[in-house]
Symmetry: C2
Subunit: 319 residues, 2 copies
């Protein structure tokens, strides 16, 4: 068991509530949207500032750790939603931030990081992966990992605490699986509150590291093919996270790319929210579950190109 997992699993309700109280002024308590039958509800984290749940984790780290840690500035290695959230949170505190990104990162994401005042450094994918794995960027500053940080997981737990308040009768929670920080955080909140719920992780068919890890009984090398679902999927479950996931996740549902597209259009039509591909998979998986359960689907983010969104909507209209 990793030290991170051993520490995280011990999070009690008061610890999680303390982190929630620290970040509350900066985050939105996202509402719970109901399907007409009232047995499926949606937690739209796409409405969070910077368009994803990651702001919760970013604020949690900066708020929970003492300012003395950040005297040399802050470092991370994500151009995606965590990088965006951390850039917002660092800017709000006047902290210099350096973001290391792979050369494959989308130009629009790098532009947005720069607009928020972050210093962006581009690397080959291999070098970037090395920085991410070793946490050594070769310069001074406090490195914050997008997933493997106690406060990241505890920040994500705030979604679980909100859900406990908003829907005490929830019994199943469906969560997109990227690195595992989101589902672990939510599961810890329910566990700490003594509430037994079924935690279902969702992956898209283009990359299924968690499904494969559960099948093999340990993290294995996974593949990842191109998809519009770019916020989740990886080359394998992070070993540091595996003990947590093995304990906290009850099942893995893999959805097809078409199911995700259909879910994305449905979220626009019925719930009036814009989800990114990764955000839509939980709703797609929830649509598969049978009745008789009270299912909450976490729509993790909404950062999608308008061109892509427009395409998906017009596709959905074809007979």
């Amino acid at each position: 068991v990793s030290e991170l997992a051993a520490t995280a699993i011990k999070s009690d309700l008061s610890a999680l509530e303390r982190v929630h109280a620290l970040i509350r002024p900066e985050i939105i308590c996202t509402p719970l949207l109901s399907a007409l039958d009232e047995t499926t509800k949606i937690k739209p984290e796409c409405l969070q500032r910077m368009g994803s749940f990651k702001l919760r984790a970013a604020c949690a780290v900066l708020q929970a750790r003492g300012a003395e840690n950040f005297s040399q500035g802050v470092i991370t290695a994500s151009a995606g939603n965590f990088g965006q959230g951390l850039a917002y949170a660092a800017r709000a505190r006047g902290l210099p931030l350096t973001v290391h990104v792979p050369e494959t990162a989308a130009a629009t994401k790098i532009d947005r990081l720069r607009q928020l005042g972050a210093h962006v450094v581009t690397h080959s994918f291999a070098k970037w992966w090395e920085i991410m794995s070793t946490r050594d960027a070769g310069h001074e500053g406090h490195f914050i990992h997008p997933v493997c940080e106690l406060e990241v997981i505890q920040g994500n737990a705030s979604i679980g605490l909100e859900l406990l308040q908003q829907w005490p009768a929830v019994d199943t929670i469906v969560v997109p699986f990227g690195g595992g920080g989101l589902i672990s955080g939510i599961a810890l909140a329910f566990k700490a509150a003594g509430r037994d719920v079924r935690m279902i992780a969702c992956e898209a068919e283009n990359s299924t590291p968690l499904r494969q890890a559960f099948d093999a009984g340990r993290p294995v090398q996974a593949s990842r093919s191109a998809s519009f679902i770019d916020g989740i999927g990886s080359e394998g479950v992070l070993p540091e996270m595996w003990p947590l996931l093995r304990d906290l996740v009850d099942d893995v549902v893999v959805v097809t790319e078409n199911e995700a597209r259909k879910a994305l259009a449905d979220l626009c039509k019925k719930h009036h929210i814009v989800a990114e591909g990764a955000g839509a998979v939980a709703y797609a998986a929830a649509a598969r579950l049978g009745g008789g359960s009270n299912v909450a689907a976490i729509v993790s983010g909404g950062n999608i190109d308008l061109a892509r969104l427009s395409d998906i909507l017009s596709e959905d209209l074809r007979p």
Copy 2:
């Protein structure tokens, strides 16, 4: 001064808070979404059940009036957002509802009313307008007007009460103008709380009854040309509402259809919400106001055809 206006204007804070408490279990407290500069914020009522703020008013009427009023069933004359909201609220209470609609009403709206268990009766536009004006549908039941009801206005005031809590420093509120119930309700909440704010009504260029009424000093016959912005605009300000509007509205901003389209695309891209045309006009008007103010834009609803939405998004992408 109409009796409705005379009564509504006297609503004190405790009366409005009482109505808010009555409807709270059924409605969503919509979050306040921030633009990056933090001086413009959005109240996304498109997230409300049935996709618009109208559920607040529908629940307020049914909840505040005694059940004895409804023994013969409930009647209204709106196929639009109010009809949808009332159908939901009536179904939740097991109340039979008859909805009178003009033959011009979209088939999808009629289908949705029927799915919710409403009995729908179609009329020529002239006959429908007569029912709306006289409140006489020719059959038993309790008629509820979509705009001119004290509890409708007080139900809408709940948006103002939420806003007072969410953003005490707000100084300007921008609201789409359809019948005037929405802007009146929000203005009454701030007035009752002793908070002086600038209330700005927005219309789209295809129909500007309030702009014309302010110019003429009284309601005048207005025109209405076809537009994708179908939730607002009318042939004139309702005389019953005029005294309220004259007292409570500080200014009217008229936006172009292109501004509304641009606003709709922006709301998808930056805030991850889907607005209908009427919902987007307040955001379009807010974008016109200069800096130095704390502006809240009410996005009143999100019921738009996916085909229309897809068109607007792909247009926005053209250079």
